[in-house]
């Protein structure tokens, strides 16, 4: 049996658990009203202090250590409440920024640890088909000229015989390489110009590059489809990155919707 879709929504977990924690805290009488002048260090509070010590130190505190922690807690609590009374939490950029960071982190932490199943990744793969639609591979021959005029002259003579160009340390032919690879060797200007050439149409150009001018014979241009299995790891990396951003913004949107924003123009 499948549970309804909404139960998979992280924001539902987020809010649901938030509600649970809230209930637990209020039920237990643990919420602290900053305006109260009573500081109650009950057994539960003491257990909490003891536990947080244990988490850091790997052992339970001794009685002396626990007493010291209680004293510290009382001292911090007194100063904290006084600080709230004075409004010191307001208008402090650092406090504000830390709280913002904490909220952001709680929204993204789940995505960082998550191990998505195939179904989730397949959906992501299909939703982002453009990204994985496969590389364009090109095969071409090129002949180099330092200046445009020589390249044009050679092109007009090319009908009778293959033109000969000038020396340069670039491959004379490229066989089924990705556009990314061609860009690494020939540069961005050349790759963009390549897009406007026709395949199987003889010598064309001249095409400009960072080196000079090229006559190009485009033999083939085709897109290779990469199926899901071939790009699964990339999909997972991309999914995670997108998921972190999504959770942050979804969590924000929910919180944001409870506010009315008024901006004076």
């Amino acid at each position: 049996m499948r549970s309804p879709n909404w139960t998979h929504e992280p924001i539902v977990h987020f809010l649901g658990l938030g509600a649970l924690v809230y209930v637990a805290l209020t039920w237990g009488g643990q919420t602290i009203d900053p305006s109260s002048r009573v500081i109650d260090v009950g057994s539960e509070q003491q257990a909490e202090l003891s536990l947080s010590f244990e988490r850091v130190m790997g052992r339970a505190p001794t009685d002396t250590e626990l007493d010291a922690r209680i004293n510290q807690f009382v001292r911090d609590e007194v100063l904290y409440r006084e600080a709230l009374r004075l409004g010191l939490d307001q208008g402090d950029a650092v406090v504000r920024q830390r709280m913002v960071a904490k909220m952001e982190m709680s929204a993204s932490a789940a995505a960082e640890a998550a191990q998505p199943g195939d179904a989730v990744l397949r959906t992501f793969y299909e939703d982002n088909a453009d990204r994985y639609s496969g590389e364009v591979l090109v095969s071409f021959n090129q002949i180099y000229f330092a200046d445009e005029a020589s390249a044009r002259a050679a092109l007009s003579a090319a009908e009778n015989a293959d033109p000969s160009g000038e020396q340069i340390s670039l491959p004379a032919s490229i066989d089924a390489e990705s556009l990314q690879e061609v860009q690494t060797r020939f540069g961005g200007v050349f790759v963009r110009a390549l897009a406007s050439l026709e395949a199987q149409a003889g010598w064309q150009g001249p095409v400009q590059s960072g080196f000079g001018w090229h006559l190009v014979r485009l033999n083939e241009r085709h897109r290779v489809t990469s199926d899901f299995e071939a790009v699964r790891d990339r999909v997972e990396n991309d999914w995670r990155s997108a998921e972190i951003a999504n959770r942050k913004s979804r969590a924000f949107e929910v919180l944001r919707s409870a506010y009315r924003i008024e901006i004076d123009r």
């Binding site: 805290l25 909220m103 709680s106 191990q115 330092a146 690494t184 990339r234």
Partner: protein, 642 residues
């Protein structure tokens, strides 16, 4: 209000623990191993693969303190060409992806500032119980500026050996290091994609006695199947020999391979390339052998300056002195000034010469190294591009608009300014394909070179029978079959060595001004010499030598809008060169330096982008000739070669 915040935050943490338990990650052997047999390889190295071997993320004790909040995953995404959001909020992307990346976080206190920052204050106050640590903790929380100041103090303390013991509790640190290391290795495997992008494991070993920088980047050939059997080796409390022992033990125990790359010798006050053992006693052949085996390559150029040579050492080299300003003043934290007699132990060219001397005495050359560039960026963003400079650390990302003209580290380092930072360099590796094994092996055989950012393709082959006709045919095959590539060794055959040299400009960058061969040699009486030869340059007819010098190429940079034109210079420079000063029986090295035409440096881009005036000093250095250095080819006298 307060209640709501804490409950929502707490529920977020609960969600994290719930979701964490589901299916296992799926990584295949191609990703977890060294990449052998995963892709088709070229017959000969076919193009330079571009990478950064020296990147820091939020796991580095100083990078986090300086403010970076991007971790290894963002670093890998950025290096492989994806867009990421920098710590200071802006979108960052490379114009061209890198082929490989070594994340080299400091092994000492790996992740420690991040943990300290996240710890409750009571813990820092009571359990750590160290006033200095507590003060740094409070500074880190007070403001970004205070946090940067705290880290500047921490680096100085590390340099002086006065880091509070409490901060580096060895047991706690080992436990944390193990956690971070294993998580990190799994992340590297996830992004390692043979043939497309290579994610290489490594760390930075950060020894600096009295602040004299002896740092090394350590990089592994292997994937997690082997690297998970080791842990990064601490630097502050160990010696270089111990590091090499650690590396040898790793190789023996796992069957893997590892090498170390010294960097910032320019900040070592002469200690990086000494003529003696570190304790001042005469160097032993055993020490020299160990060093040569562990450290085939050095990082010669990066954000914190360039270590090729200093004008004091190379007075006849009119192109010496790139990336020297500011850095020449003293050691890393500027706690000790540099005296001129220290330079010879701080720069690569003089070290290569020292290597010849030591080889004459010991029979083994400890300083027969190749050269690469890298960034040493502490922002998780591996970029060495002048027009895309994201700063040395998060405190000088572009969000700090006056970063070019402010003192470094808030004035604790007198005399070094933002504009002294270079944009950083790249490592180029001549490999047969893009896998961990192929890239590593190129480093191991020194078939690598350094650039200060531009991606020019640079080849040199040394042999004894190369001729101009070789250019008409398959000269790369000729180079590999009748000679040796950069990083190789020739043994003297009684005639002058010949070289095939080709420099092809960055396809998206500036034209080339000239190609130079730098030769260093040692006479029979033990005297070392160096000489710079201009071997080919653009417009050679119009720029004929005058009184022995090649005239300057010119300057097209418009200082008003930080642009240049390729109306001067050449797309490719190639030549067959014969050493005109060959003398039989001489031990020598030859490396190539290629210069681009002048282009704007990052401070000029900043000045234009943000609309401010550079100081006179900064303006004088705002335009430079970016360059590349190949690894040398050594000519060994017949006696040595045996």
């Amino acid at each position: 209000m307060r209640k709501t915040f804490s409950t929502v935050a707490a529920s977020g943490i609960l969600v994290m623990t719930l979701v964490a338990c589901s299916s296992e990650p799926t990584l295949d052997e191609a990703q977890t191993g060294d990449g052998t047999d995963t892709i088709e390889l070229a017959e000969f190295p076919d193009r330079p693969y571009w990478g950064d071997t020296h990147l820091h993320t939020d796991n580095s004790v100083d990078a986090f303190g300086f403010g970076v909040r991007l971790g290894p995953e963002d670093a890998l995404r950025f290096a492989s060409g994806e867009e990421v959001t920098a710590t200071t909020g802006a979108q960052a992307q490379l114009s061209r992806p890198l082929d490989f990346l070594v994340i080299a976080d400091h092994s000492d206190a790996l992740g420690a500032t991040r943990r300290l920052y996240d710890a409750p204050r009571w813990y820092v106050n009571w359990v750590i119980g160290d006033e200095t640590v507590l003060r740094w903790y409070d500074m880190m929380h007070e403001s970004p500026e205070q946090s940067q100041l705290a880290i500047a103090e921490l680096i100085t303390a590390a340099a002086n050996g006065t880091v509070p013991e409490a901060l580096a509790d060895p047991e706690q640190a080992a436990e944390n290091t193990k956690d971070i290391w294993n998580t990190h290795l799994e992340m590297l495997d996830r992004y390692n994609d043979p043939g497309t992008f290579t994610a290489i494991a490594g760390f930075e070993w950060t020894r600096m006695p009295d602040g004299n920088n002896l740092h090394r980047v350590v990089m592994y050939r292997d994937g997690s199947e082997r690297t998970s059997q080791t842990l990064p080796f601490p630097g502050l409390s160990t010696t270089a020999e111990q590091l090499w022992d650690y590396m040898a033990a790793y190789e023996q125990e796992t069957g893997g391979q590892v090498l170390a790359i010294p960097h910032n010798s320019n900040l070592s006050n002469g200690l990086m390339f000494e003529m003696t053992m570190p304790d001042g006693s005469p160097m032993t052949a055993e020490y020299a052998t160990k060093r040569a085996a562990a450290e085939p390559v050095i990082e010669v150029t990066q954000i914190k300056g360039d270590s090729e040579t200093h004008p004091f050492l190379s007075p006849n080299d009119e192109m010496a002195g790139f990336g020297v300003a500011g850095w020449e003043l003293g050691n890393l934290p500027l706690t000790l000034e540099t005296e001129p007699e220290m330079y010879a132990g701080s720069y690569a060219r003089s070290a290569l010469l020292r290597g010849l001397s030591l080889e004459q005495q010991l029979g083994v050359n400890p300083y027969a190294f190749g050269m690469i560039g890298s960034t040493d960026s502490h922002t998780s963003l591996a970029t060495g591009d002048e027009d895309n400079f994201w700063g040395k650390h998060t405190g000088n990302e572009p969000a700090t608009e006056d970063r070019a003209v402010t003192p470094q580290n808030l004035g604790t380092r007198i005399g070094r300014f933002g504009w002294n930072y270079l944009a950083g360099g790249y490592a180029a590796a001549w490999a047969r394909g893009n896998t961990r094994a192929e890239i590593f092996d190129a480093f191991a055989r020194r078939e690598v070179y350094a650039t200060t950012g531009p991606r020019m393709s640079l080849r040199i082959f040394g042999g004894f029978d190369f001729a101009n006709e070789d250019w008409d045919g398959d000269w790369v095959r000729a180079g590999y079959t009748r000679g040796v590539p950069m990083g190789g060794e020739l043994s003297d055959q009684g005639s002058a060595p010949t070289f095939l040299i080709s420099a092809l400009k960055d396809p998206d960058g500036a034209n080339l001004d000239r190609v130079q061969v730098i030769k260093g040699w040692i006479t029979a009486s033990g005297e070392t010499q160096e000489r710079v030869y201009d071997v080919v340059w653009s417009d050679m007819e119009a720029r004929a030598r005058s009184s022995g010098r090649v005239p300057v190429v010119g300057d097209t940079v418009n200082r008003e809008d930080a642009t240049y034109t390729n109306s001067i210079g050449a797309a490719e420079l190639r030549t067959t060169w014969i050493d005109p000063d060959y003398s039989a029986g001489q031990s020598a090295f030859y490396y190539v330096r290629v210069l681009e035409i002048p282009t704007p440096r990052w401070p000029l881009f900043d000045a234009v982008r943000f609309g401010f005036d550079l100081s006179d000093d900064a303006m004088a250095d705002a335009v430079a000739q970016e360059r590349a250095y190949t690894s040398p080819i050594w000519l060994k006298s017949a006696a040595e070669a045996q």
